[in-house]
Symmetry: C2
Subunit: 117 residues, 2 copies
Amino acid sequence: MKEFHKINLLYDFYGSLLTERQQNFIELYYGDDLSLGEIAEQFDVTRQAVHDTLKRAEQTLGTYEEKLGLVDKFSKEYRSIEEALHLIQRYQTGLEPDGLEKTKEILESILKNRQEF
Amino acid sequence: MKEFHKINLLYDFYGSLLTERQQNFIELYYGDDLSLGEIAEQFDVTRQAVHDTLKRAEQTLGTYEEKLGLVDKFSKEYRSIEEALHLIQRYQTGLEPDGLEKTKEILESILKNRQEF
């Protein structure tokens, strides 16, 4: 997974646990694609300060994921749901006669994993 | 939602963010159904100390949910996936001719909500 995409995904899950300033910088840097220099100017701080704040924020997000593992878990589910949708479509076009049974297995497996979570 | 079930669900998501002692007490009290007195004896602390630790742990779990809202979000998804499964079964028994279309809508809606998350 690309670093950019990974940070955005972690931020979607855990962003509200960061400080307001960390959230601002992450959104501007990763969301709006501003440069470190542009953010520094906007907040009247050094480029190094922006860099350090971003690094700390990324570390914090990474630590939450290490502990909770929710991004990993729900990314896997996301792919399973995509697969289920694909199987229904293939069943409907006659390409996958077992498609509905496979879809049910996938959905049952998601529910089962959640109960064990 | 019953308090007991709610705490267990919050603990499933955010438990690893609690201190080790908080985790121990929650598991013994909510998971193994020990009494405050039994936990107090086992850890050689007062019944009041067990009570206070549990309350603080519950507050912490509640605060994480207020900020992140993941339990609420994924409980809703869980019910949607159950509904999707039910619809496929009804389609297969001829009770719901639109079942597959409805299932696809539900699954697409889950994927869409996640992208916007």
